[in-house]
Symmetry: C2
Subunit: 349 residues, 2 copies
DNA sequence: TTGAAAGCGCTAACAC
DNA sequence: GTGTTAGCGCTTTCAA
């Protein structure tokens, strides 16, 4: 039987070999205090020698815990998984899971099946906790999971949900407010917002930060200067081209991601404009650390937050919740950094 | 006990409710033929009504199968997870796993722990099969997994490994050979290769495709025209700048990814060169489909392969192996497409 | 066609 | 400190 071939020693066999009961061996291995120090050492040595690894399935069944955390990725939101942000968050979270001895279960499912997937994962006992990605303004998953009674964390927030729940978010609103203020301080008055999809909660928050700053400066927002779409290079290019074609083009741009900024740059270059001389661009990116030498893109100023760190933190919080099921909701707001490039742009108005 | 709260009906309860034995219910649910059609229907109805979901842990323990596939991601290769290619492959694979009723277990671990992680996953019975990512020229993981006797698939190949194993790869060599031929046909003779890390097997294959084409054309490769590093925008920029500063700069570029091409483009633009007029660039990208309108970057020609499809295919193959443990190794080579942009460049020599 | 009984590998009362 | 016993929820002989 293939099974035998793969699996190693069992606890029972180990116990027999040691002339001990399975119970004692289990206790020794799991650090129960009542075990004799010598016995424990004997057991640990023998386990190591026999290359013993406990069977998690059996352990799970006996304890009622799976020691796994689930992440559900709906695939119709196809760009999300493609998005490095998403991947990096998973990477950060995964680090902490494995350190804590937890597995990460990733479910990639069609959008329509998402709810069923949550139900399944929980009912089948596959996971002890769940991470929710990419919350919308109105997100039904939160109520669903609260109903299922399983610990979960949301990466981001859902403005439409009023009951308390656990989340970790970066301060998108503040980030875009500060970036806008920065451009205003440079003398810009026509500042374009090339935003992500505004059905996503984070994009709405960015927008409201931008609007807040304009409002505080007594500048009426111009709807023509606000764009919203999936964050891709071509989108940045198209938005840039269209914005520059306006009767009164913007003199500064707020880009929702670096990749959008690349597209924007293409449009600006095509139009014969020079970044940092004719126009200013501030890009937001969730992680610039993957760029050698940090922000090695002198024309851009950037607001950034390490999404990897966010993943780590979110995992840590979720594991806390899993360990203490009756713990009240945990929340964490991460501030972003404003990273200055070599040239920050000049007012052209 | 929290456990009770979350878990649904058990098979035993269902059996009691139906006045049947657990055995029969199990058989009915799992499609065993010997069950009376009426009984089966009754069971299925009741199961649906009670919202019954089998506990996977128990099922696993009883059957010796976990119905889960593992993917191990070493984090020191930090850029790999950041890499959309990786994420997209996972997404494709995940689709097929969930369709087949398998879970995907992702382990993100420090580089040094990678081998231990494989051993653990197998010994603890957490997975029925494994996917190996980012093979190096010499990759010890293949021998390790063969020793462990668990079905596995490699995404890519390891040239240094001679024993047969299952893999899925895209034809990197052919892709770069064709791209080079294309540039040669345009009249270019000084073609730069801005490659990925050549400790990675795929990068070496790309290089050899490039060299093959040059050789066939009777052109001696110039070491000064070949670069290799992590595929980032700044790398593309730096490489471009340096290459253009050569006494005899290249007139065409082969970029290892779109993001590298963006950096390259920055360098070219800075130097006052116009893509498609002064220089030609061909970029390879594993998936351009996430760009609306396909290749909406007219200056570039691209060779591409859908990595998502690769993930799907690899998962399908792996599941075949998991289902038939004694199946001989499966291999699959995917061809890439040469996608022509609007302008493909002109020879300047 | 159905059921009884044993067992997957481990943990957790409860005794001793 | 250690062992005995029962059981987690399911599958699987074997018998009926």
């Amino acid at each position: 039987m293939r099974f035998e071939q793969i699996m190693g020693v069992t606890l029972k066999e180990l116990a027999t070999k040691l002339a001990l009961s399975p119970t004692t061996v289990s206790r020794a291995l799991n650090g129960y205090p009542e075990v004799n120090a010598q016995t424990r050492q004997r057991v640990l040595d023998a386990a190591r020698a026999a290359n013993y690894h406990p069977n998690m399935r059996a352990k799970s069944l006996a304890t009622g815990q799976s020691r796994a955390i689930g992440h559900v990725i709906p695939i119709s939101t196809s760009h999300e998984i493609v998005n490095p942000i998403f991947a990096d968050f998973i990477a950060g979270a995964g680090e902490n899971y494995s350190r804590a001895g937890y597995d990460m279960v990733l479910s990639v499912v069609p959008d329509a099946d998402e709810e069923a997937t949550y139900r399944n994962l929980v009912a089948r006992g596959s996971v002890d906790g769940l991470m929710v990605h990419g919350p919308l303004l109105q997100d039904s998953r939160i109520a669903l999971l609260q109903g299922l009674g399983i610990p979960f964390m949301v990466h981001g927030r859902s403005s439409g949900v009023n009951t308390p729940y656990s989340w970790l978010d970066i301060n998108n609103r503040r980030s875009f407010c500060r970036a806008t203020e920065f451009l205003l301080d440079l003398g810009h008055t026509r500042i374009a917002l090339v935003n992500g999809l505004e059905s996503m909660d984070f994009a709405m928050r960015r927008r409201s930060g931008y609007l807040d700053a304009l409002h505080a400066a007594g500048i009426a927002p111009d709807p023509m200067l606000m764009r919203s779409s999936e964050m891709t290079e071509p989108y940045g290019h198209k938005a840039g081209r269209e914005l520059l074609a306006l009767p009164q083009p913007p003199t500064a741009f707020l880009a929702s991601s670096m990749i959008v900024a690349y597209g924007l740059r293409r449009a600006l270059t095509d139009a014969g404009l020079k970044l940092g001389r004719d126009v200013s661009v501030i890009a937001h990116d969730d992680d610039l650390s993957y760029m050698p030498n940090g922000l090695d893109v002198p024309q851009f100023t950037a607001t950034c937050s390490s999404v990897r760190a966010a993943g780590r933190k979110a995992a840590e919080m979720l594991l806390t919740l899993v360990g203490n099921p009756d713990h009240p909701p945990l929340t964490h707001l991460m501030e972003t950094q404003l990273v200055l490039g070599y040239s920050t742009g000049r007012n052209r108005t």
